[in-house]
Point group: C2
Chain length 441, copies 2
């Protein structure tokens, strides 16, 4: 079958040999552009409003978004016994399980393929992306953030503890993570207020309270959990991999000055709680399967419960752009790749459930900051400016140690196929000035 | 008005002078028992199933639970424009806001008071508590756990870092907390599986994976957030206090060996993720108002955003009991009081929102372990047995350093009025053996 063949991957000795197949051609405008984010091979899942309309589930294809909720309503999908796309969130469809995920992908691939007999029926359900308003693609159940970028951990550890003690003793054994705050996960394009918080200057006796002065990004991949696990029942890495519905880009905004003062001994809290931005499209695991790659070589073997049954990483090119207020010139400040992650999302998810922690449909797992080995490939300003000591010069001539009010930060990512790419769409956020603390009770 | 007068409290120079009024008498069996948990003064909110029935909202009164969902359905409450108790969770009512909370309390107080004209109409909606099955009283939106017990922080710090460095430098300035896992918050009576996890023995080169051998409790109070705050908009301590709907007892089960190996630098994760047990009744802030007390004296003034506008602590007597499998003899292993908490829940909530973190209806905030100044008043086995070095002897003659399979741990709490008490009901959990790790993919 064409669809499956186009996604087949061959492995030998843990290395990817061949990605068979190329672009799946579609009749939709823009879908066959080799530099477009959304070819027929992709079919990422989002929530959009057409002009004047209410939010609904959609799938990006070329320059358009397909109203799959309307298709389901019209009886053109027939993927489940009841409606799975009636709410403006993908949670119900995710909860329906892998056979339904596969059925939806196969059906949409058939409907949108070049020469599809249903073209006339489907076309009225397309809205130009330029006219669509995008929303969070799913209800975030809980949000967990990991710390799986080795170069990032080494960089931060070197700055804070010196090069000799850069990696914490547990780092090579545990996919370390902490629970984050789901209530402030927002979709690309949502402005973010600079946080207030408690900080203590290095030379101060006492802390003070005010706007963060070391506001930063973290370039991450986010895994969207599509199937649950039960309380008291751990899962294997292979089971965890199968539970993942897809991936988004994720910016874990971080206030470094608040973090430095608060994080001992219980970890990051308000330094990360004010906002997390994700890209609007869940790129499915199925679409990314041809781009799997083994996680990096290990100097210490993992405990059996964390071992990789097959390649679990992904070859996804990533970049960060920064654009000051009032300028239309963005500067690429970092280029890296998701294959740098020492632990894959499936390993993180298996660890998350290992204690018996119940995982939920809609859980979001941040990968941790993805930094490559050289200094142009770091995934945070903390690293790119080495703690603020080596400011960046932007294309506009301005310099930056950390983020200033009005700056827009944008993450981009795609997996490169032969003649097509699997893109994530934008993951952007502009920083607004800090709020006034309320004076009235 | 009788109801308000019965709850009036007078303050002078920050100290409670008088709790006016005493028991509010009710016609319901057991409600006038001075040692009962649920007099008319209490009216705590839970979810129950009558024999053979579905879960629904109920209010405990004496030896009974009142089916308030049925009362609302019969038009006997008239507290809101639409149904607020139709779902088996208190979130909708909480979201309706403080005027509705007050209206419900006033209406139930009138319906259940001695001599109430509505007695014949209301009585059929009572179910004996002994016949009711209790469920989680609300949908937990997100769960955050704090660390506000000073003696607990000193004890743990002394064991891990020595007496000189017991309190972290930020402790007297910040109500330190971390995000916990909402998916494993369970109601009293739910069995808890011993967690699996990664640990490293002090003399081992490498970690291993298996059942926790240092399983512990943490005695806490849980605050239930009943009103939201918006992203990017901090709240004052007074506003935070008004957002709290009520309180529960909370057992933050903790695997000390997993915690010790994983917690640096990102804080507790799988050591706490496997279970958190709460009591089945939300005791409302209104019911606890007469028992307010100032937080303890401070050696360092707080930053203005955290200062106490009036007494925010509560005088709530707390205890912990332990009962081995197969025995009916429980041993009280700790007695303490919630007034030990250095930071009140309202201060924790204001800190939580200070960065601009949006707070949600149904958020649960654990207070942190409540330990009193002497060694019979410690809120965890880690402290009671001083890291396992001084085992407890139970009434059965057995000894315990940490929890063994089959042990039941029970928290109890009440505020003592003149001739009545405001009780929380049970907060119990029995430990089941660790699961087998799955061998099949």
């Amino acid at each position: 079958m064409l669809v499956l063949a186009a996604q087949a991957v061959h492995w030998r000795a843990g290395r990817r040999l061949v990605v068979t197949g190329g672009l799946l051609r579609s009749w939709v405008a823009g879908a066959n552009d080799p530099d477009g984010d959304f070819p027929l091979n992709n079919l990422p899942c989002g929530v959009f409003s057409p002009p004047g309309g209410a939010p609904r589930c959609g799938v990006a294809i070329g320059d358009n978004v397909l109203d799959v909720a309307a298709l389901e309503g019209a009886g053109l999908l027939a993927i489940g016994p009841g409606p799975l796309l009636a709410r403006p969130a993908w949670n119900d469809l995710m909860a329906a399980g892998q056979p339904v995920w596969r059925a939806l992908r196969a059906r949409l691939t058939a409907l949108l393929a070049e020469g599809a007999a249903e073209r006339e029926t489907v076309a009225p359900h397309l809205t130009p992306l330029a006219a669509a308003t995008l929303h969070l693609p799913f209800d975030v159940a809980e949000y967990t953030d990991f710390y799986a970028g080795r170069q990032h951990a080494v960089n931060v550890g070197t700055m804070f503890r010196g090069a000799e003690n850069a990696l914490p003793p547990n780092w090579l054994h545990i996919p370390i993570g902490y629970n984050g705050r789901a209530s402030t996960v927002v979709v690309s394009g949502t402005p973010v207020r600079r946080p207030l918080g408690q900080t203590r200057a290095p030379d101060a006796d006492a802390p003070s309270f005010g706007p963060s002065r070391r506001l930063d990004i973290e370039l991450e991949l986010g895994a969207v959990v599509g199937q649950p696990s039960r309380m008291g029942e751990p899962v294997t890495v292979a089971q965890a991999d199968a539970m993942i519905f897809g991936y988004v880009l994720l910016n874990d905004w971080s206030a470094r000055d608040i973090q430095a003062w608060e994080y001992q001994p219980l970890g990051p809290f308000q330094a990360k709680a004010f906002a997390t931005t994700i890209s609007p499209w869940i790129v499915t695991r199925a679409a990314l399967d041809p781009f799997r790659t083994p996680t990096p070589a290990r100097e210490t073997p993992l405990l059996p419960y964390l071992r990789e049954p097959g390649p679990l990483g992904y070859d996804i090119a990533l970049s960060v752009e920064m654009r000051p207020a009032g300028s239309d010139r963005a500067t690429v400040i970092s280029r890296t790749n998701a294959r740098e992650l020492y632990y894959a999302s499936a390993q993180q998810l298996a660890h998350h459930a290992s204690s018996g922690c119940a995982m939920r449909v809609g859980d979001l797992l941040g990968s941790g900051t993805i930094s490559g080995p050289d200094s142009t490939a770091y995934g945070s300003l903390l690293e790119l400016t080495w703690g603020g000591k080596e400011p960046l010069t932007l294309a506009t001539g301005e310099t930056r140690s950390f983020i200033e009010d009005g700056d827009t930060l944008s993450l981009r990512g795609h997996a490169q196929g032969a003649g097509f790419r699997i893109g994530f769409g934008p993951c952007d956020g502009a920083i607004l000035p800090a709020p006034q603390f309320p004076t009235e009770n």
